[in-house]
């Protein structure tokens, strides 16, 4: 499991065009996500911006279940964390959410490519995958 963000480009003629597009978007998306994650974590560690849950309080709280932790700290569930983005610990969720957004964004890019190739079955599979990921991210499934 290495961090190999820059793709090794061998014989590209043998690689299908949609696969090349997906790989490029994946690499770019992951770079961006990790850069955001690193930046927000440095901000969190330096204490420049106050966190929602003070760092010294964490050892008393991280042994609680997620439900009890949320109740004890006021940690937002669903997408309500966006409202508290000014807190340094919540700010880290931007990078984490970006990591989890890379795949749906890549799939959104795949759909028109499959349609262009008249690969309707795979276009439908990509659309269904987007729908599943949106369902998971929206909180409707919960």
């Amino acid at each position: 499991m290495g961090l190999e963000i820059l793709p090794v480009i061998d014989d590209l003629d043998s690689v299908r065009p949609e696969q090349q597009i997906y790989a490029r978007w994946l690499a770019a998306g992951l770079w961006l996500s990790l850069a955001i994650l690193a930046t927000t974590f440095i901000i969190y560690l330096t204490g420049v911006v106050p966190p929602l849950v003070p760092l010294a309080e964490l050892p008393k709280l991280w042994g609680l279940s997620a439900a009890r932790y949320v109740a004890a700290t006021g940690t937002p569930t669903g997408w309500r964390w966006v409202e508290l983005i000014g807190r340094s610990d919540v700010m880290n969720l931007v990078g984490i959410a970006c990591v989890a957004l890379v795949t749906p964004v890549c799939f959104a890019r795949l759909v028109p490519e499959f349609v262009r190739q008249r690969e309707n079955t795979f276009a439908a599979i990509a659309l269904m995958e987007i729908w599943i990921l949106v369902l998971a991210a929206s909180g409707i499934a919960a």
């Binding site: 690689v15 760092l55 949320v70 995958e129 998971a136």
Partner: protein
């Protein structure tokens, strides 16, 4: 290892998910969590060091980081299993995403092959993550213990057998309709390797179960994806390993959103783990040619056996 053995083992994993709650519910109630001793920074620092080692060992032994991370960290650290599972899942997700571009561009992984199986896996991974929040922590611990034991069995059996190398077996009707066949260049063997897919329906069932277990425990899924792709579907080993990464990156995404949505992500647990594993994996990749992978794989099996036993005993309230 034959495809029927794989199916049996995967079936056992599902059975574990059904049987363990009944067993663990008979256990005494868990004791309330005790605040971890010492300053706050000791734990993230220790987490970084442990995940750094996990990163090295994971690469050398050819297993995913998530499958080592969850049982080891939940056994050694004071974090609730909910947060360990979410970190394990995000760690496996980031790892598979980072390997994805190279594997796709080299042609070793097939996006076309990954898509239908990842779709099924995503649905069940989301269901697994949702179900996991309804199950008491001690029951989850016991289920994790049983699952880890079965993964150990799977790894042990896989290590003893010759992998299927893709002898050009026949496509079935579904895989023919989806065009699930291809060719990639193997630089080590210095030749093109043809692959095609068989037992597609059984493959869908296997990926549904793998997705469910992966989403519940945050284990990633490389440990099961590779045998399912290789032995069951008949994809040659290198293609199976590469495509497993792509499947994992898609399947883990749906469960990751459930954990984020539930507020089950503590950045102070996730980020040091991610950095530790990524840096460890880089060192592991450099050491790869100096150490004997078979010996390391045996060490990993022993470590998982111990970590799985710890989770099992913790779940039954016998070792808190």
């Amino acid at each position: 290892m034959r495809s029927s053995t794989i199916l049996w083992l995967i079936g056992f994993l599902l059975l574990a998910g059904v049987a363990a709650p009944a067993l663990a519910l008979a256990a005494p109630p868990p004791t309330p969590p005790v605040a971890a001793a010492g300053p706050w920074w000791v734990w993230p620092l220790a987490l970084f060091l442990v995940t750094f080692l996990i990163g090295i060992v994971a690469v050398l032994a050819g297993v995913g980081g998530g499958v080592l991370f969850v049982p080891i960290v939940s056994g050694l650290f004071p974090f609730h299993l909910d947060f360990v599972r979410s970190a394990g899942l995000l760690l496996a997700l980031a790892g598979s995403l980072s390997a994805g571009p190279s594997l796709l561009m080299s042609g070793m992984a097939s996006l076309r092959l990954a898509l239908p199986f990842a779709l099924i896996g995503s649905v069940f991974s989301m269901v697994g993550a949702l179900v996991s929040f309804q199950v008491p922590a001690d029951v989850m611990q016991a289920m994790l213990g049983i699952t880890i034991m079965l993964i150990v069995l799977l790894m042990w059996r896989a290590g003893k057998s010759e992998s299927y190398v893709g002898d050009g077996g026949k496509n079935d009707r579904i895989s023919t309709a989806l065009g699930l066949a291809g060719v990639y260049f193997d630089p080590v063997a210095d030749r093109d390797v043809d692959w095609r897919v068989q037992h597609t329906v059984a493959g869908f069932a296997a990926f549904a179960i793998i997705g469910l277990v992966g989403g519940m425990f945050g284990l990633g899924a490389g440990w099961a994806n590779v045998p399912a792709l290789n032995v069951l579907l008949g994809v040659p080993l290198k293609g199976a390993v590469a495509t497993s990464n792509i499947v994992m990156s898609i399947v883990n995404t749906s469960a990751a959103w459930i954990y984020i949505e539930r507020g089950a992500v503590i950045p102070m647990v996730v980020v040091p783990s991610l950095i530790g594993v990524i840096l460890g994996a880089r060192i592991g990749a450099r050491l790869l040619h100096r150490l004997h992978p078979v010996v390391l794989r045996r060490i990993v099996i022993v470590v998982l056996l111990l970590a799985g036993s710890r989770a099992l005993l913790k779940g039954f309230g016998l070792w808190d």
